[in-house]
C-alpha cells in the first residue's frame, strides 16, 4: 500500500508544470481567447507538449506513444488545469489517443503524436462541442443510460482543420460563443439527434434509428470496451483538470488576500476570508485523492472503476465551483473585470464542471452502484 505518486510520476509532472508555467502564462491563454489554437504562441505550446511526449503519453508504446497509465497522465492534466491550458489536452491526449490506437487508425495516431491532430468530444449526446472550432477530429457519442458508456466515433480525416472534418458530419456545426471563448465551442445543428444516430463501437452494425448516418461520418473501429474506457478517461481527465484549476485559483486568491489591504490590514487577515478559503481548500484536498484513486482503478482494471470515476468527477466539479465562487468573492470587484486573470480560470471551471457529467449526474451513478436507486 502506497498512496502517492512514484518518483517518476512526480518528476514527469514537475517537468510538465515547468514547461507550462513557462510557455503558457495567462497572456498566452488570452491569445487563445482571440485566435484559438492557431494563434502563434498557443500553437507553440501544443508543439512543445507533443515534443515532450505529453500529447502521446497515453498512446501505447507499440503505437509510438509513451504507453503511460492514468496515474501518470492525470497529474499532467492537473498541470494543464493549473495554467488553464486553452487546448483540448484531455480530449486529444487522454480520450482520443488510446482510443484511436485501439481502433487501429495508425494515420490518425501518427498525426496525434506529431501534434498535428486536435480532437474535440461530444460524448454525452449534447449538441455543444467544446473545442470544435479548432478540432481536426470530433468524437460523438451518447450519454449512457446504463452504467456502460457507448462511444460513437467519426473522424474528419485529412490534415485539414476543423471545418473540413465537420462538413463530413452531414449536419452542420455552427460556431457558438462560450463564456470561455478559448473553448471554441461549436453546436451541432439539428443534430443532438443526428449525432446520436451514429452508434459506434460494437453496435455500429445495429439499426441506427430514424436519422441515417451521413455518408461522410466514419464509424470508429474500436471495441466497445475501448469506448467505455474513453468515456471514463474523459470524465477523469476533466476532474484532474478541475483540481489544477482549483489550485491555481486558490493560489491567486491567497496572494491577493495577502497583498490587498483594506481597513489598514491585509484582507486575508479577516476571519471571514480565512474561513471561506479554508472551506475552499477543504473541498479540493478531499477531492484530489479520489481523482488519483480513480486513476489507479482505471489502470488496475478495478471492478469499481465506473463508480470511482463518477465520485472523482462529482467531488472535483463541486470543489472547483466552490473555489471559483470563493476566489471571486475574496477578490471583490477587481476579479469582476476581464483585465484581471482570474476569469480565465473561473470560466473554465464553470464550463467544464458541467461537461463529462456534472456533479449531480455523477453522484447518481455512484448511488446506482451502491444499489440506492
Amino acid at each position: 500500500m502506497r498512496f502517492a505518486l512514484t518518483e517518476d510520476q512526480a518528476a514527469l509532472r514537475d517537468a510538465a508544470r515547468e514547461l507550462l508555467a513557462r510557455e503558457c502564462p495567462p497572456a498566452v491563454v488570452r491569445k487563445a481567447w482571440d485566435g484559438g489554437a492557431g494563434a502563434s504562441p498557443v500553437a507553440a505550446v501544443w508543439s512543445k507538449l507533443a515534443e515532450m511526449g505529453v500529447v502521446g503519453a497515453a498512446v501505447p508504446e507499440e503505437a509510438g506513444g509513451l504507453g503511460l497509465g492514468a496515474c501518470d497522465v492525470v497529474p499532467l492534466l492537473e498541470e494543464a488545469g493549473r495554467v488553464a491550458l486553452p487546448l483540448p489536452l484531455v480530449e486529444t491526449a487522454f480520450v482520443a489517443g488510446p482510443l484511436l490506437a485501439a481502433a487501429g487508425d495508425d494515420g490518425a495516431v501518427e498525426r496525434l503524436l506529431a501534434g498535428d491532430l486536435l480532437v474535440a468530444c461530444a460524448l454525452d449526446g449534447a449538441a455543444e462541442v467544446p473545442w470544435a472550432g479548432d478540432a481536426d477530429l470530433i468524437l460523438v457519442g451518447e450519454r449512457p443510460g446504463g452504467p456502460v458508456s457507448q462511444i460513437v466515433g467519426s473522424h474528419g480525416g485529412g490534415a485539414t482543420a476543423g471545418a473540413d472534418g465537420i462538413a463530413r458530419f452531414g449536419g452542420a456545426l455552427e460556431p457558438a460563443r462560450s463564456i470561455d471563448t478559448a473553448r471554441r465551442l461549436g453546436v451541432l445543428v439539428g443534430s443532438a439527434a443526428s449525432a446520436s444516430g451514429l452508434v459506434g463501437g460494437d453496435d455500429r452494425g445495429a439499426d441506427s434509428g430514424p436519422g441515417e448516418p451521413p455518408a461522410a461520418v466514419e464509424p470508429l473501429d474500436a471495441p466497445n470496451e475501448a469506448c467505455v474506457l474513453a468515456w471514463q478517461r474523459g470524465a477523469l481527465g476533466t476532474a484532474g483538470q478541475l483540481i489544477g484549476l482549483s489550485r491555481a485559483l486558490l493560489a491567486m486568491t491567497v496572494t491577493y488576500a495577502e497583498e490587498r489591504r483594506q481597513f489598514g490590514v491585509p484582507i486575508g487577515s479577516f476571519q471571514a476570508v480565512k474561513h471561506q478559503l479554508a472551506n475552499a481548500l477543504l473541498g479540493v484536498e478531499f477531492a484530489a485523492p479520489t481523482v488519483l484513486r480513480a486513476a489507479w482503478s482505471l489502470d488496475s482494471g478495478a471492478a469499481t472503476v465506473d463508480r470511482d470515476v463518477a465520485m472523482a468527477k462529482a467531488l472535483a466539479s463541486e470543489a472547483a465551483e466552490r473555489v471559483a465562487a470563493t476566489a471571486l468573492q475574496a477578490h471583490g470587484a477587481i476579479a469582476y473585470t476581464t483585465e484581471y486573470d482570474l476569469h480565465l480560470f473561473a470560466k473554465r471551471v464553470w464550463a467544464s464542471a458541467r461537461t463529462w457529467g456534472d456533479a449531480e449526474w455523477q453522484r447518481a451513478r455512484v448511488a446506482a452502484a451502491l444499489g440506492l436507486n
Binding site: I179, D180, L185, A272, L328, A333, T338, R354
Partner: protein, 378 residues
C-alpha cells in the same frame, strides 16, 4: 394585517401593465455596451414621456408621486413584462434620494428633471483602487479654488458602472487633506466632460464594457457641485442608505420574475429536470416569495414612519445570494449548454456581482451581527 391592494393601487397596476405590454421593446443589446446603451436611452426617454421613469417622484420632476406600494407594484409589472434594464438607475436610486434629502432647491431643480428625462446620465464614483469595501480609505481629493469659486478635483475612481457612457458622476472627495477615514470627505457632482477628466471603459466578467475608470486631474467644479456641507460627505452619503428612498430595495419583482422564468426552463428541460433540480427550483421560488414578503414588512414599517436601519443589510445579503442560487440552478438545468453565452449564463455572471457591490456581504454580515444582534465590535 391587510394583504390586499386598494382599488386605486389596482388601477395603477392595470395602467402600468397595459402601457408596458404595449411599449416594452424586444431584443435590445446589452445596456452595458455602447450600441445597447444608445438603444436603452431611447427606452428611457419613452418611459419618461409616459411618466413611468420615476414614478415615486413629484409630478414637477416627471413623476407620479407614487407611494412606496405603488412603486413596488410598478417594479413588479416592469419585471413581469420583461422590460429592459434601467441604465439610469444609479442616478435615480443612489443620487436622487440624497438630493431630495439634503440638496438645495436649486440643485434639485437643476439636476433631477434632466436625470428623469435621461438627458444627464449619472454614474457613481465611490470606489477607488485602494478603497473598495473600505470606502473611508478614499484618497481622491478636492482643493479649494477660492478665486474661481469652486474646487479642483484630482484622483482616480474605478469600477464605475457604465461610466464610459455617462455624462456625470457623483462621489466622495477628500476636502480636508489632514483628515483621516470618514472625516473630511465631501460629496461632489462632476460633469465627465469637464477639463481634466478622462474616462477609460473596461470589461466586466461578461465581456461587456460595463466598467470605467475615471481619472481626474485638477478638474474644476463650481461650489454648487457640492451636496450638503463641505467635509460632511460621509454623513450625507450614508444618511440615505438607510432611509426610505435610498433603501436600495432590490425590487422583489426582479426575483419573482426570474423565478417564474426558472420554472419555465425546468418545464422545457423535461426529464433533465431531475427531482433534485426541481427541488432547487422550488427553493428559488420560495426564496423570491420570502424576499417579497420581507420587503412588504419593510415597506409597512417605512410607510408608518419607521426606518429599516440595519435591517437593509439582511435585505442585501438575501437578494444577492438568492440570485446566485437561482442562476446556478438554471445553469445546472442547462447542463453542457450552460456555457453558451446567453441570457442564463449572463444572468449568472451578473448575479455574481451581487454579493460584492454595494457593500460586500462580509461587511453586511458584520453589520447584521453588530447592529441587529448587538455583538461586540472588538
Amino acid at each position: 394585517m391587510d394583504l390586499t391592494y386598494s382599488d386605486s393601487e389596482q388601477a395603477f397596476r392595470a395602467e402600468a401593465r397595459e402601457w408596458l405590454e404595449a411599449n416594452v421593446p424586444d431584443g435590445l443589446a446589452s445596456g452595458d455596451t455602447a450600441e445597447g446603451f444608445a438603444q436603452h436611452l431611447e427606452w428611457e426617454k419613452r418611459l419618461y414621456e409616459a411618466r413611468w421613469a420615476v414614478v415615486s417622484w413629484p409630478e414637477a420632476y416627471g413623476g407620479r408621486e407614487a407611494s412606496l406600494w405603488e412603486w413596488l407594484i410598478f417594479e413588479e409589472e416592469y419585471y413581469r413584462a420583461g422590460a429592459p434594464q434601467r441604465v439610469t438607475q444609479n442616478g435615480i436610486f443612489l443620487l436622487a434620494p440624497t438630493l431630495f434629502d439634503v440638496g438645495t432647491p436649486e440643485q434639485q431643480d437643476r439636476v433631477l428633471p434632466r436625470m428623469a428625462a435621461a438627458e444627464d446620465l449619472w454614474c457613481q464614483g465611490w470606489s477607488e483602487p485602494g478603497a473598495g469595501s473600505d470606502l473611508a480609505a478614499t484618497k481622491s481629493r478636492a482643493v479649494r479654488d477660492e478665486a474661481a469659486g469652486g474646487w479642483r478635483l484630482t484622483g482616480q475612481k474605478t469600477w464605475t458602472t457604465r461610466g464610459a457612457f455617462c455624462t456625470h458622476m457623483f462621489g466622495l472627495f477628500r476636502t480636508d487633506p489632514e483628515s483621516e477615514r470618514h472625516r473630511g470627505l465631501t460629496y461632489f457632482m462632476v460633469p465627465l466632460d469637464a477639463a481634466g477628466v478622462t474616462v477609460r471603459g473596461f470589461e466586466r466578467l461578461d465581456g461587456d464594457e460595463g466598467f470605467a475608470e475615471v481619472f481626474l486631474e485638477d478638474a474644476f467644479v463650481p461650489d454648487d457641485a457640492v451636496i450638503g456641507e463641505v467635509d460632511a460627505g460621509w454623513k450625507v452619503a450614508m444618511a440615505t442608505t438607510g432611509s426610505e428612498r435610498g433603501l436600495t430595495l432590490r425590487s422583489p419583482g426582479r426575483f419573482l420574475s426570474a423565478a417564474e422564468r426558472l420554472i419555465e426552463l425546468a418545464a422545457e428541460r423535461g426529464e433533465a429536470a431531475t427531482p433534485l433540480l426541481r427541488d432547487r427550483v422550488a427553493r428559488a421560488w420560495i426564496d423570491a416569495e420570502a424576499y417579497q414578503l420581507f420587503t412588504l414588512e419593510q415597506v409597512t414599517t417605512i410607510s408608518e414612519g419607521g426606518s429599516p436601519g440595519a435591517r437593509s443589510s439582511l435585505n442585501k445579503i438575501f437578494w444577492s445570494e438568492l440570485d446566485v442560487r437561482l442562476q446556478e440552478t438554471a445553469l445546472d438545468l442547462l447542463g453542457p449548454a450552460a456555457e453558451l453565452d446567453g441570457p442564463w449564463s449572463r444572468g449568472f455572471l451578473f448575479a455574481l456581482a451581487g454579493p460584492i457591490y454595494a457593500g460586500t456581504n462580509e461587511i453586511q454580515r458584520n453589520i447584521v451581527a453588530e447592529r441587529l444582534l448587538g455583538l461586540p465590535r472588538k
